[in-house]
């Protein structure tokens, strides 16, 4: 396959970036999107140019490191797919593909397509944990969890924190991420003691980080590689209301 790529190039956080056009030839349709970028980078290095910086790690769709806007859609045209699992056969030969980093004030560009997602860490630090006793692992049946709750918690827990929800949101909101983390812990018995402080703290951290407010537009869930459901945001709202009313 031959492709025309327009990629965001930015040397460092403070410099101005721009879209640069590259012609990428002879790409296998079975290559992943990241492998296609690898091929381009090898050619750039051989030509003495600076390779395109992008985040990646497991390349199995489970780590949450990779992610870029491909033709304006987070993680590209395939639903429920991370960028590393997106294959070139989903594109047409000769197609022009625009590649941009996640755009959000809370995710400043480090270089090219790499953004700093440290804002997600500050949300997690504000309550995305449980205080558990240390020691030997408890017996599996020590704390029974209803199957329905376990399934719902697991669905929320599949969030890999890639940031696609923020990138896609017309408001630049990280509500789906926050809701997934609040829901994942709040659905389980182990998460109950801190349920109220968690939702309040994480929402405050979310707003402080500079993310926008949620208007339930639903863009996030459409691009989410793990298909985190929008309903979790309703759960977050309900938890928040209860926590604030209790606190008085």
């Amino acid at each position: 396959m031959n492709l025309k790529l327009r990629v965001w190039r930015q040397t460092d956080p403070s410099s101005r970036g721009r879209m640069v056009t590259y012609l990428v030839e002879d790409i296998s349709p079975d290559a992943s999107f990241l492998e296609m970028l690898d091929v381009l980078n090898e050619r750039l290095i051989l030509a003495g140019d600076e390779p395109i910086a992008f985040d990646h790690d497991c390349r199995e769709g489970i780590c949450g490191m990779c992610g870029m806007m491909i033709n304006g859609v987070a993680h590209g045209p395939s639903r429920a797919t991370t960028t590393c699992q997106l294959h070139m056969r989903h594109f047409k030969d000769g197609e022009t593909i625009d590649v941009e980093p996640w755009r959000a004030a809370a995710f400043p560009v480090v270089k090219d397509l790499v953004v700093d997602r440290g804002a997600f860490d500050s949300i997690i630090q504000a309550g995305g944990y449980i205080s558990a006793p240390t020691g030997a692992a408890p017996d599996a049946h020590a704390t029974p969890v209803p199957k329905v709750d376990a399934d719902a918690a697991f669905e929320a827990a599949t969030c890999i924190g890639c940031g696609a929800c923020v990138a896609a949101c017309p408001n630049g909101s990280a509500m789906l991420f926050t809701a997934a983390k609040v829901g994942h812990l709040g659905l389980l018995p182990q998460g109950q003691p801190e349920r109220d402080t968690r939702v309040v703290g994480m929402l405050e951290a979310h707003d402080e980080a500079g993310f926008g407010g949620c208007t339930n537009a639903g863009e996030c869930t459409t691009v989410c590689p793990k298909g985190i459901p929008l309903t979790l945001i309703g759960r977050l709202n309900s938890d928040y209301r209860k926590a604030v009313t209790k606190r008085g």
Binding site: A105, G212, G218, T231, G234
Partner: protein, 210 residues
């Protein structure tokens, strides 16, 4: 956003029910309009109830707009650098036109109050005979008024199609079944409102109401 919005939806339904009285006849419609000014009497003096309701609605509208402005401002600050390539977003048309739709509705409400409440821009503008005002307002020669009215009501329909669902979500709706139901309720209520409101001007324009 949700609280003030739902309050305004309740008002829209009450207002629509009143509008539909026009199909009963001129006397019924005018009587209804005069009764509005006497709700609560003799406990409240003449038109007091109406002014209390107007005050409440104004607070709701201002609160709704203030919340929308805060959200829009936060959204702009949250994405200082725009995407070079941004296709139409994946979600619903209604969700993505909330802000512009809201502006159209606000402009319409201002016109509508000058038209049919104060009568300032109405060709008849007779507070004693609201039926005559409505009939004169939507006469075929004033097609532009009917057009603007239609545009505004369709905007309300789209606004509520997303708005009612979004409000229910804000208030804590959180099951997949509930989501389907909330979306269905939003769609049905919006359609009922659009049909109910548009029936009056179109009935006048085609001459069914004279």
């Amino acid at each position: 956003m949700a609280g003030t919005g739902l309050l305004l939806v309740l008002f829209l339904f009450a207002h629509m029910a009143g509008n539909l009285k026009i199909f009963v006849g001129a006397d019924a419609f005018d009587h209804y309009a005069h009764w509005l000014r006497d709700i609560g009497t003799p406990l409240l003096p003449h038109t007091w109830y109406l002014w209390i309701q107007r005050g409440g609605l104004t607070v709701a509208v201002v609160g709704h707009i203030a919340a929308a402005v805060i959200l829009a401002r936060r959204a702009r600050l949250a994405r200082p650098v725009r995407y070079a390539h941004r296709p139409k977003v994946q979600g619903s048309y209604a969700a993505r036109t909330m802000r512009w739709g809201g502006v159209i509705i606000l402009l319409f409400v201002i016109f509508h109050i000058l038209d049919l409440t104060t009568g300032t821009v109405n060709p008849v503008g007779d507070a004693q005979h609201p039926y005559a005002n409505v009939v004169a307002d939507f006469a075929p020669s004033r097609w532009y008024v009917t057009l603007f009215y239609t545009l505004a009501i369709v905007s309300v329909g789209f606004h509520l199609r997303h708005g009612i669902f979004s409000a229910l979500r804000t208030l804590g709706q959180q099951t997949p079944r509930g989501e389907r139901r909330a979306r269905a309720i939003a769609l049905v209520l919006s359609l009922v409102l659009v049909v109910g409101y548009l029936s009056v001007p179109f009935a006048v324009t085609i001459g069914a109401i004279k």
